[in-house]
């Protein structure tokens, strides 16, 4: 078909192309980077392994970069945390796909194993942290304040540690709505027709799932029984109050989602943002359904920048880091400990949405069962 010369040229070109990107994998396993003291950062389980926090800082600065994923700037004040970390240590942070989900983070770790693009640290929902630890994706690391973190909020060897959390709350546009709802019962009132939205749908978005769980608690259910929550939202939909749009700053500004069920730190973070647009956004933790959940931090076992990853952990669990979470209206895991020893920023703590009583937590088995029930029953309830 083609002249012999053309054919030969084509073959030569193809061979060049192929051999240009050829080469077997480096034979040995990734041994990890060793700092001048001969410490293997990838297997260090605490700052002591480095020879002290200063040596850790040194090793991290040598690496120079940190790769994070799924950290939106206005989620628990991560924007400022990233900025302050970069300024303090001079380590450049590459923040990838801020709106990625926990499942995306786990997939990124699995798919990019051995590549420089892999994420170093992860901020995951509780169940994902548990399953990821079970799959051996994380590296154990105990931050300096590890012992002050309450027992149920961490994995004993430090594979994952809770960092901050919040209550399910009801945000409300006080200018467009005369009386803001303060409980789940309120939401059923006819004056809220077409106005009650969530941050996505409960089979996909963590805060929406929490919203249904809290609704269950408010309507006679329990951690074992999420069905009353599903029934509540069915009632909400039948009353015409449910708005299926996923709340975003744009939809709030446009006036579409005037009431939004979301984590209290998200709703509270909207308030100053919306004030500039002339919207008075109020946050209320529902009096009848209180559900509190925390997110967890983990270090990728094959992190391309292991020392920087560990320094990030140290920063987040230092008083400075935890107070920055507080500034984002999230409740940091060390809040009780910091309130006791006075390192907490009292002004910021005072700005948190008011809640009474102490939270109780479901076991992971209860949560898994609830999720399965939701996956099976939500569609039928809401689309019927």
């Amino acid at each position: 078909m083609f002249s012999p010369r053309a054919r030969a040229a084509g073959v030569a070109a193809a061979l060049t192309l192929v051999t240009a990107a050829c080469g077997a994998a480096p034979g040995t396993q990734r041994t990890g980077q060793t700092s001048p003291g001969g410490v293997n950062a990838a297997t260090a389980t605490s700052a002591a392994d480095f020879g002290g926090l200063d040596k850790l800082v040194e090793a991290a600065k040598k690496e120079g970069t940190l790769h994070v994923i799924a950290l939106p700037p206005d989620w628990a004040n991560y924007g400022e945390i990233i900025e302050k970390f970069q300024a303090k240590y001079g380590i450049k942070i590459e923040s990838e796909t801020p709106d990625a989900s926990s499942a995306d983070e786990i997939n990124a770790v699995k798919t990019r194993k051995g590549q420089d693009r892999a994420p170093d640290v992860l901020d995951l929902g509780q169940s994902f942290a548990l399953s990821g630890a079970g799959e051996g994706l994380f590296a154990p690391y105990k931050v300096q304040g590890f012992d002050r973190i309450p027992e149920g909020q961490k994995e004993p060897t430090g594979l994952w540690v809770n960092d901050y959390g919040g209550y399910v709350s009801i945000g409300c546009d006080a200018k467009k709505i005369t009386t803001c709802p303060t409980s789940y019962k309120d939401l059923l009132k006819p004056e809220y027709k077409g106005k009650v939205a969530m941050n996505g749908n409960p089979t996909k978005a963590g805060s929406a799932f929490a919203g249904v769980y809290a609704a269950a608690l408010a309507n006679g259910g329990s951690f074992d029984d999420i069905q009353p929550g599903i029934d509540f939202f069915k009632k909400l939909k039948d009353a015409g109050n449910y708005n299926p749009v996923e709340t975003t700053p744009a939809t709030i500004e446009k006036g579409e989602t005037q009431i939004s069920i979301d984590w209290d730190y998200n709703n509270a973070a909207y308030a100053p943002q919306m004030a500039g647009k002339g919207i008075d956004w109020k946050v209320n933790v529902p009096t009848d359904g209180k559900y509190f959940q925390m997110y967890a931090q983990a270090i990728n076992k094959d992190a391309p920048h292991p020392a920087a990853a560990r320094l990030w952990q140290e920063y987040l669990y230092s008083a400075e880091g935890q107070n920055l979470f507080l500034k984002g209206f999230a409740r940091p895991v060390l809040l009780p400990a910091m309130t006791a020893d006075g390192t907490v920023d009292k002004a910021l703590a005072g700005k948190l949405p008011q809640v009474e009583g102490e939270p109780t937590f479901p076991t992971s088995r209860q949560v898994d069962a609830a999720k399965a029930k939701l996956a099976g029953g939500w569609d039928a309830a809401i689309s019927g």
Partner: protein
Amino acid sequence: MVALTGLEPAAPTAPAAPAARARVWRGVVFLLAALYFLVPLGASLWYTLYTPAAGVSFAPYGELLAAEGFARSLLLSLGLAAATIAVVLLLALPAMLAVRLFAPRLRPVMEVLCTLPLVVPPITFVAGLATSLRAGTDVLAPTPFWATIIAVQDPGFPVVLVLAYVVLVLPFVYRSLDAGLRTMDVRTLVEAARNLGASWPYVLLRVVVPNLRPALASASFLTLALVLGEYTVASLLGYQPFAVWIVTVSGSRGQLSVAVSILSLLIIWLLLLAVSTVFGRERKS
């Protein structure tokens, strides 16, 4: 008013009425289409421009154009688009020609193959792709192809994205080329050229392609638009071409995030217009 005597031939008036009617009909169609497509665009545009506090302002748009990474991500997307267009046309055109001319029995196979990527949601495709890359990296570790699989995922120019985009765009390119090949009588033209002694490359380049110009252009525009607007595959694989970058940079600020999508629509449209005028699409007479 001059009265009709009835002696005027009917023919001259007959073409005028249908033509006028056709014009009115076209006008109605355009008006409805304009309403349907432009009103939502306008509503969102108004939202990005107007704040009760600050009045009308073009600030979001200026912010986007000045943001860091605009040129880098746009150039990356353009490069990916160019590569995708080249690869997909090089693969699809000879295949379709060959099937049409020599192996009509392969036609259903082609149809199915070229519609399959359409019904696999991008999320599933990426899930499969990611699993394959993972397994491939493990399996190929001792072979020379390991570096190839890593190079293909290089963030500087991710060839893996080009490969994925070629698959995603194949259904549309196939339809375009199919419609184009249908309107030109390929068989006769090719036979005539071959009988006159033309070699296959000559036939391909100088007989088929010029006649297919509108279809090729249409296919290229579709590819360009798809690659520039593609978000899911690129973000799940962890790259930052234009569409992913604009979502990252707009963060969660309402007006900015809507403004970036409008601006990206505008940019892509202008690019397509530029390409189309430069390459001068001929109107079939």
